[in-house]
Amino acid sequence: MRPALAIISVIVLAVHGVVFYNQFFARWQEHQAQYFEQAAKLAESEAVRATLKARRPAIEQVIVRSFPPEHVDRCQTCHIAVDDPRFEKADQPLRTHPPIPGHRFEAFGCTVCHDGQGRAVDAKGAHEGGEDWPWPLLPKQMIQANCVQCHVEPGWQGAPLVNAGRRLFYERACYTCHTIGGLSYGSIGPELTEEGRRRRADFITGKIQDPRATNPVSTMPRQDLTGEQVLALATFLKSQQGSRISRAPLAQYQASQQARPEWLPLSVIVGPEEATAVESLDPVQRGESLLPRVGCLSCHKLGERDGKVGPELSYTAAQRDPDWVMTHFKDPKSVVPGSLMPPYPLPTESFDSLTKYLLARPVPEVVGAPAEQFRQLCARCHGEKGQGDGVISRYLDPRPRDLTKLAFMRSKTRERLVKSVMEGVPGTSMAPWGRVLGPERSGALVDWVLADLTRAGASKPPADRRVPEANPVAYSPESVARGEAVFMNRCWGCHGKKADGQGPNAADIVPRPRNLRNKPFVSSLSYARLHESIKYGVQGTAMPAAGFDFALDDESIGDLINFVLSLNGLGAPGATKSADNSTTPR
């Protein structure tokens, strides 16, 4: 035991040696010694030289009280030459800081502008601040984010990057989903008022570049931005730090107390001067001028510009009427329930001029063979090969149909497919192409799809299906209740207990189960088609032939359809309201 004790004691002693060495031979002492030596060489007089020679390393610090909360900056312990102009070409940490008029080190310290952890005296601790430190050294190219903490006047010329980022915040429609106190009132995404105080610069940059990197279920569309644009937007967001330093607390409080307005004035979105200029234009021109600036093209495609998130707008004039476009502007989900598009916080006049512009815009001519037409009109959603995987497909709900699915495509009559092309599918992103293509070219396009993409051979619509034209069961609360019982027994596993297509099995099923609360879609279907889909199933999808697999007779299917209608407020007049109450989803 005694030799072991002796060995341990020696080791403990040796470790103490390491401890003392770490304490008394720190890197900052080397840096200071190096500085004293070099400065002594450059010294002009013997007296200065002697003073420098006599100096011993000591911790240098600035306590900044002018910009609360108090900062304690010991950065100059290593960066001891920041205010010594002779060290302009020296290597860090001994380089001179470029002078900024009016900014004295004694008054400002370092971390007010640069962030970092000012109390540390080791490089890693000071620059990175250790695990989860929210304010590591701000990347040099984003430094303007901190300039505007004090230079708060809007559009301050010294921070062009922040101003550019602010423009992008509106141009890229960020403001429609996110709230930044005083600047926007979106409620779909997280609030960003204090984003710059809470998040590191690299997190913000990463989130803009790939919204799903840190949150795989994020619905934020990925934006097509250049490196410079990412930097500008990230710098602008990093500058959103609430009242971290000097933003007047009263202004901050007032901004937070403001009721959420119904719409944002144009002067906030495009700036006051531009807003006046835009408002002097006639409605169509005003719409043209607003369209790229309020964020439409960060998602939609118009002409050459493509945000690669939402449907193309070039053909709107031949597809929609003014009512539809206006309704869609005010509440996109009322016409396409699965739409990702947020309701726009714009004044009605702006919607009006945007609508006028979209409907006045000449529709591009569609030329070429069906293959060429398909690429021009359909591939953006349905994909180059018609597999339903176009560039914007992941943002659409329901997803675009997979046109190569043989079982589905063959079970539909040509007439129905042509009708879908010409009239569109209400409640979904499938627009009516009838006025763009005309009946002949629509038919030719369907034929080409069947022959070249589906490779279906002859269409084989199933024969001998017996489907009643009208509901055999009258709409009544009892019928709805019976229908609900059947639904909760047979259907909810895929369609979900709320009948919104989000049942527990839905995630594994392609195409996804229908959202049966999609009112525009449900109301566009004939009774017979609903009945047929339930009774005989939908070929090429997971929808089974419930009339046979579950032995549902026509009356039960009628009940079921009454239940689905009741969910959408589509029952018989008078019965609708009470039916709605009795079928509150669980």
Binding site: M1, R2, A4, L5, I8, S9, I11, V12, V15, H16, V18, V19, N22, Q23, I59, V72, R74, Q117, R119, A120, V121, D122, G125, A126, G130, E131, D132, W133, P134, R198
Partner: protein, 432 residues
């Protein structure tokens, strides 16, 4: 000696006299001197003059009690030094941590040592309990010392838990928020207990000052007092546990070396020479005096016991030093009551509780832990057997040991799940 020594002689003898006045005995070289050294020194006299050879077997105790006490000493020392820099104020606490982690002389080392020694003490105290259980040492006459030990373990948890809040970073703030809300699940008194603990409905300045006072004054004093009781009772209960019948004549060959003291470099044990003398220290109950009538398997505590203890202490200091040099104690962003991290986790030794709370707030947070503690306290009163005491994993104690092992495994599994397999919203995640 007809004349007092003169000043000159006194001056000459000064070093020797000063030394002799401090250390009453020279380094002992005889058994009598060994006894007197142990007996007349404040720091040593809590030990018996002679220790049973069985108690000195390293693989029997693993030194866990001494290690736990060593960690307590390290924590007290580093803690007092840290108190010179720490301010229990929500405005200053985190900044003081940053200073300690960077600028204060030896600050990082002190902070790291204190942090890691605290985690270590919790772990070692638990291991110490495990050792005592698996060797059946809690049995009569040591029942109450087991109870004292359980209380000490609970106080160790609480001391560590109160210290957790003091850095006032996100980790601290949310761990304490989670930990104290577990207390809130207790029936009837839950909310009141939580309010008493926090001095408020949320963790804030009141909680910080309360936790600080508990951490630096109340709990250390209480622990020190109970440790004194714990040590005192070891002696009064007859030293460390050992198998019954170990000292009967037929069991002697088991420890021939100890008996003769050869392996330990001592003179042959006193018994053989019959040179012991005794003074009457008290009236002993029973029909006859045990003195001289029982075989003696003891060896002198000086140096055998003291060297072993010093060894344990030195190893503990070394490990804590090395860990503190290699791993920085965590320090997260300043506490921000408006932005909880997801998930917020309690300290590791409470993660088993938190895991259970995720199934049922009352049963996981209060019901089952209370049953655990009551069960542990009742153990020595339920197990009144005599066979198998003083031996690791004795076959006679198969049932008790199996139940206890099960109890340990369940807790360990819960802690491991809570620590590594729980992600945002307390959903199951795979850590690799």
């Amino acid at each position: 000696m007809d004349k007092d020594p003169g000043l000159l002689e006194n001056l000459k003898a000064l070093p020797r006299n000063v030394w002799g006045s401090i250390f009453r005995n020279p380094l002992p070289s005889s058994d009598l001197a060994r006894s007197q050294t142990t007996f007349s020194n404040l720091f040593l006299h809590i030990h018996p003059v002679k220790t049973h050879a069985h108690s000195l077997k390293p693989w029997y105790t693993l030194g866990l009690g001494v290690i736990a006490f060593s960690l307590f000493l390290i924590l007290t020392t580093t803690g007092v030094l840290l108190m010179f820099y720490y301010v229990p104020s929500v405005d200053q606490a985190h900044n003081r941590m940053l200073d300690l982690a960077g600028t204060v002389a030896f600050g990082p080392l002190l902070r790291n040592m204190h942090r890691w020694a605290a985690h270590g003490m919790v772990a070692v105290v638990i291991l110490h309990m495990v050792r005592v259980f698996f060797t059946g040492s809690y049995r009569a006459p040591r029942e109450f010392n087991w109870v004292v030990g359980i209380l000490l373990m609970l106080m160790t948890f609480f001391a560590s838990f109160t210290g957790y809040l003091l850095p006032w970073d996100q980790l601290a703030f949310w761990a304490i928020t989670v930990g104290t809300s577990i207390a809130g699940y207790a029936p009837v008194m839950g909310e009141q207990v939580r309010f008493l603990l926090l001095g408020d409905r949320v963790v804030g300045q009141e909680a910080l000052i309360r936790f600080y006072v508990l951490h630096v004054a109340v709990l250390p004093l209480a622990i020190a007092l109970l440790v004194g009781v714990h040590f005192w009772r070891i002696r009064k209960d007859g030293g460390l546990s050992r198998p019954e019948g170990l000292d009967l004549p037929e069991a002697q060959p088991a420890f021939p070396e100890a008996l003769e003291g050869k392996a330990l470099g001592l003179a042959p044990a006193a018994k053989l020479q019959r040179t012991k003398t005794f003074g009457v220290m008290g009236i002993v109950r029973g029909p006859f005096s045990k003195v001289g009538n029982t075989p003696d398997n003891t060896v002198y505590s000086w140096p055998n016991l003291f060297v072993a203890e010093l060894f344990c202490f030195s190893v503990t200091v070394l490990v804590v030093l090395l860990v503190a040099l290699l791993f920085a104690a965590p320090l997260e962003a300043p506490a921000d009551p408006t932005h909880p991290p997801n998930p917020s986790k309690a300290p590791w030794y409470f993660l088993g509780l938190q895991e259970m709370v995720s199934y049922s707030a009352f049963w996981g947070g209060v019901g089952i832990p209370t049953l655990f503690v009551l069960g542990l306290l009742a153990v020595p009163y339920l197990d009144r057997g005599r066979l198998g005491t003083g031996v690791w994993f004795s076959r006679h104690r198969l049932l008790a040991n199996t139940l206890f092992a099960l109890f340990l495994i369940v807790n360990l599994v819960l802690i491991v799940i809570g620590t590594f397999f729980r992600g945002p919203n307390w959903s199951l995640v795979v850590p690799w």
